[in-house]
C-alpha cells in the first residue's frame, strides 16, 4: 500500500488562556502505515493529548494538514464528517468518565451500531454479543449499568464501543495508564491480538516507554508540543539521541532482582 493510512503535516494548535498563549502542539508531522502501531510518548504537558484531540477533530487545529484514508480529513464537515468518523475512533484514559452514567453495557454498544447503521435493528443484539466476546466481556454483563463495572471491564467496553464501527485507526490516549498491572497486560495483549485479526492501526499515546515498546512498531517522542525524536522502537530505545528520550528511558522502573540489566 503506497499511501500511509494517516499522514500529518504542520499541525499546530495554540490555546489562549486569559492573556497568555500556550503553544500546545507545534508543527507536528508524522505518518502511520495501515496495520501498524505508532507510539507517542512524552511527559505531562508535552502535547500528546492535544494531538489526540486534534486528530479526532474534537478541537479545531490552527493550521496544518491531515490526510486520513486517502481524504483531506480536515476538509470534511457536517454530516459527511460524522459519517467518516466511523473510520477513526478513540479510547480515553479515565474509565470512570468515559460513559454516560445512565448507560448500560447494551446501550453503549447500541449507539455506534445505530448511528452508523452497521447492521439493521434486528441484527444488533447479535452483533453486540459478538463485540462483547471480542473484548472478553461476559454476556451476563449486557444489561448492567456501566457504573457496576470495574475499571478493567470499562476499558474493555470502551474498546468494544470503539471497534463497533470497524475503524481503520484507533487512538488510545493513555488508555491503560489507570489500570492495574495485570489488567493492563491483558488489555495490551487484547489490542495486539485484535490488530493481528482485523488489521486495525493504533496510535498509542502513553508516558511509560516500556508499555509503548511492548506494542508499538515505531515511536515518536514529544516534548513541549514538538517532536524531538522518531523512529523504530527498538532503535530509539537502544540509541536514544535526545535528553528527553534518555530521561524517559531512565524513568522506567526496573525490577531490582539482580538479573535485569539496562539496555544500551
Amino acid at each position: 500500500m503506497s499511501e500511509p493510512l494517516l499522514a500529518v503535516s504542520g499541525l499546530t494548535k495554540t490555546f489562549r488562556n486569559g492573556g497568555r498563549h500556550v503553544l500546545a502542539v507545534d508543527d507536528i508531522g508524522f505518518e502511520l502505515p495501515a496495520g501498524q502501531t505508532l507510539g507517542i510518548v512524552g511527559a505531562s504537558g508535552s502535547g500528546k493529548s492535544t494531538l489526540a484531540r486534534l486528530l479526532m477533530r474534537l478541537i479545531p487545529a490552527d493550521s496544518g494538514s491531515i490526510r486520513f484514508h486517502g481524504q483531506d480529513w480536515l476538509a470534511l464537515s457536517g454530516a459527511r464528517l460524522r459519517r467518516a468518523r466511523a473510520d477513526i475512533q478513540m479510547v480515553f484514559q479515565d474509565p470512570l468518565s468515559a460513559f454516560n452514567p445512565r448507560a448500560t453495557v447494551e446501550s453503549v454498544l447500541n449507539d455506534p451500531l445505530r448511528i452508523h447503521e452497521i447492521v439493521g435493528k434486528a441484527e444488533r443484539p447479535a452483533r453486540i454479543g459478538e463485540l462483547l466476546d471480542k473484548v472478553g466481556l461476559a454476556m451476563s454483563l449486557r444489561g448492567r449499568s456501566v457504573l457496576a463495572l470495574s475499571g478493567g471491564q470499562r476499558q474493555r467496553l470502551a474498546l468494544a464501543r470503539a471497534l463497533a464501527t470497524r475503524p481503520k485507526l484507533l487512538i488510545l490516549d493513555e488508555a491503560v495508564s489507570a489500570l492495574d498491572l495485570s489488567i493492563r497486560r491483558q488489555i495490551l495483549e487484547l489490542l495486539v491480538a485484535l490488530q493481528r485479526e482485523d488489521g486495525v492501526s493504533y496510535l498509542f499515546i502513553g508516558h511509560d516507554l516500556a508499555v509503548v515498546r511492548a506494542i508499538a512498531h515505531r515511536v515518536t517522542v514529544m516534548e513541549a508540543g514538538r517532536i524531538v525524536e522518531s523512529g523504530e522502537t527498538e532503535g530509539i530505545i537502544a540509541r536514544p539521541q535526545t535528553s528527553v528520550t534518555k530521561a524517559l528511558i531512565a524513568a522506567v522502573p526496573q525490577l531490582i532482582t539482580g538479573t535485569e540489566s539496562r539496555p544500551g
Partner: protein, 277 residues
C-alpha cells in the same frame, strides 16, 4: 426497581408521597365531597370546631363551612403551586440549557437577564406583578413563576457546562452522534436530576407565596384559598383562633409533604447515580 418503587422505599419519600397523595386526592375530590360553592353561607356563624356533626370544623364569621373551604382551598393551593412551579422550572431549564449550549454573547446576555430576576426578592416581585396586573389566578401563577425561574436556569446552565467537559460527551462526538442527539440524550437527562430535586422546593415556595398573596388581599376574590382563610380569620383571632390556625396547619402539612418528597427524590436520584445492584 423502578424510580417510583425506590422513592417509596426511602423513608422521607414514603411519608412525602403519602401526604401529597392525600392532598391531591382531597383537591380532586373537593367538588364531590363538598358540592356547591364553599363560600356560600351554610349555617350559623362562628360555630366552634368539633361541636357539630354537620360542620365538623365549625363555621367562620359569615357562617361558611370551614371544612368545605379547607378542602376547596386545597384545590387552589395545589393547582397554583404546581402550575407556577412547572412554569418556572420549564422556562428556567430552557433558558439555562440555551445559555449553556450557546456560549459566547448569547450566554452572557441570558445570564444577565437571569441575574436581574435573581436580585429582586421573589415575593416582592410577585407582589408587584399581582398588584399592578390585577388579581386573577393566571396572573398569580405568572407572578410566582417569574419570581422562581432564575434558580433553575442557573442550575441547568451550570450542569450543562460541567457535563459538556466530560469524556463521554467527547466520546459521543467521536462516535459521530448528531449534536442535537448529544444535547437531548446525553447532556440534558444528566443535567436535569439536580434541577428536579430543586423542583419540590419551588413547589413549596409557590404554595406559600400564593397563600401570602391571598392573605394580603391580592388573590382572586372569587375563590377560597388557605391564604384568604387566614386573612379572614385575622379579624376574630382572639375569639375564634381556629379559623386561622386550621388553614395554617393545612399549609404546614402540605409544605412538609413536599419537602419530605423532595428529600426522598434527591436520595433516590443520588442512588441512581451510584452503584445499582
Amino acid at each position: 426497581m423502578s424510580l417510583f418503587a425506590r422513592l417509596a422505599a426511602a423513608p422521607g419519600g414514603r411519608a412525602g408521597l403519602t401526604i401529597l397523595g392525600l392532598m391531591a386526592f382531597i383537591a380532586f375530590a373537593a367538588p364531590a365531597l363538598f358540592p356547591g360553592d364553599p363560600l356560600r353561607i351554610a349555617g350559623p356563624a362562628l360555630l366552634p370546631p368539633f361541636s357539630s356533626s354537620e360542620f365538623p370544623l365549625g363555621t367562620d364569621r359569615l357562617g361558611r363551612d370551614v371544612l368545605a373551604c379547607l378542602v376547596h382551598g386545597a384545590q387552589i393551593s395545589l393547582l397554583v403551586g404546581l402550575a407556577a412551579a412547572a412554569a418556572a422550572i420549564f422556562v428556567g431549564m430552557v433558558v439555562g440549557a440555551l445559555a449553556g449550549f450557546a456560549g459566547g454573547l448569547v450566554e452572557e446576555a441570558l445570564m444577565r437577564v437571569v441575574e436581574t430576576f435573581q436580585i429582586v426578592p421573589g415575593f416582592l416581585m410577585a407582589l408587584a406583578f399581582a398588584s399592578v396586573l390585577g388579581a386573577s389566578l393566571p396572573i398569580i401563577i405568572l407572578a410566582i413563576a417569574l419570581a422562581a425561574w432564575a434558580e433553575p436556569a442557573r442550575l441547568t446552565r451550570a450542569q450543562v457546562l460541567a457535563i459538556r467537559e466530560q469524556d463521554y460527551i467527547a466520546a459521543a462526538r467521536a462516535l459521530g452522534m448528531h449534536p442535537l442527539e448529544i444535547a437531548f440524550k446525553e447532556i440534558l437527562p444528566n443535567a436535569l436530576a439536580p434541577v428536579l430535586a430543586l423542583s419540590s422546593v419551588i413547589v413549596a415556595g409557590a404554595i406559600l407565596t400564593e397563600a401570602a398573596l391571598s392573605f394580603l388581599g391580592l388573590g382572586d376574590p372569587n375563590v377560597v384559598t388557605w391564604g384568604s382563610m387566614i386573612a379572614e380569620g385575622r379579624n376574630v383571632i382572639r375569639s375564634a383562633p381556629f379559623l386561622s390556625i386550621l388553614p395554617g396547619l393545612a399549609l404546614v402539612v402540605t409544605v412538609l409533604g413536599v419537602y419530605l418528597f423532595s428529600e426522598g427524590l434527591a436520595d433516590t436520584l443520588r442512588q441512581n447515580g451510584e452503584e445499582r445492584p
